[in-house]
């Protein structure tokens, strides 16, 4: 009786292993896809969206920091490179990070890296060229997210920081 089940159980174990690993591998892509749809839901790729400060009523992504202002650009490299120009906010921490479709960070540059100068990144795929004056960031997928974080010491600083951050651009070449 038990003999009849040995090979089916072995096959079921292999299927379970495959299902386990496939689920783990697929999870980041699925969650990133959902995040990109949520953030760029109106179809607005390759431009910055300047979010309000995170509160309990405004949480565009999981585990947001209420101390940081977030600006996001859902990019799509299928029609060419995307240029990200980040205007620095003097005297405070800021960074721009580039996430690919698997949630990996392809690049991150902060005020410490640029020594207070603007960050100028060209998001490219294999075979695309970065324009002069831009640091190339090579990506393995068409879609992803550019995220600018700016630290606020207190919420009253938001209007001044907001005016500066809106000078940053994200655009297709």
């Amino acid at each position: 009786m038990m003999r009849r089940w040995i090979f089916p159980i072995l096959a079921g174990g292999l299927v379970a292993l495959g299902a386990y690993q496939s689920t783990l591998l697929a999870t980041p892509y699925a969650l990133m896809y959902a995040a990109l749809q949520k953030i760029g839901g109106d179809g607005a790729s390759n431009r910055f969206v300047f979010s309000k400060m995170a509160t309990a009523d405004n949480q565009p992504i999981v585990r947001p920091s209420p101390d940081l202002s977030y600006s996001t650009c859902v990019f799509d490299l299928s029609k060419g490179p995307v240029l990200v120009d980040v205007t620095p906010v003097p005297g405070r921490y800021w960074s721009v990070s580039i996430f690919d479709a698997r949630t990996d960070v392809a690049a991150v540059r902060s005020d410490r890296d640029t020594k207070g100068a603007p960050a100028r990144l060209a998001l490219i795929k294999q075979g695309q060229m970065a324009p002069a004056g831009y640091e190339p960031v090579l990506l393995r997928y068409d879609r992803g997210l550019a995220l600018v974080r700016i630290l606020l010491a207190n919420p009253s600083e938001f209007p001044a920081v907001d005016a500066i951050r809106r000078k940053s651009t994200c655009k297709q070449v």
Partner: protein, 191 residues
Amino acid sequence: MKAWQRYVIVMALGLVGGAAFAVHQVRGGLNDGLVPNGPWETGKSFGTVDARALTRAKVALSGLMALPAKEAMYFTASRDSNGRKLDGRCSYDVRGGTLDGRWWSVTLYEGEGWLVKNAANRWSVAASAVKADAQGRWAFTVSPDAQAGNWLPTGSAKAFDLTLRLYHPSPEVIANPEKAKLPVIERKGCA
């Protein structure tokens, strides 16, 4: 029962069971299997291509858009310094000293990482908000009820976790996060 029926039944169970176990592990929180330091836990490979599939999936669920360690480290505590689960009905003292990085903040979350509604509209305590003494020591209170001094409300959360963000951590903290000097979380009492 025919042989093909046995295969179909067991393989279907394997498919569902394997996927369900993966979901269970991913939903197990950000902390499992990572580097411990007192009540805090962190990972060294958040946001990087080096992350294991399970770590990447956990971070995607509970900390999407996390930065790599050279930029920021995320220490999460779901228990106090005595190992008891953080309870929204209890009050805690969080006490620390100078942290080895450029800037820090502690944020309170519930569930998979959501800010908690509270009447004070306060969700974090940052380095700039605490008053350190001459030795650099500081403290704040986590509690459902308003407290004197720096107070981080638990709102109506039954269970919560605290995430300590350390931006531009020192090379020593990046290399050995288990040895970093981090705050203690001490339970004072429960309602």
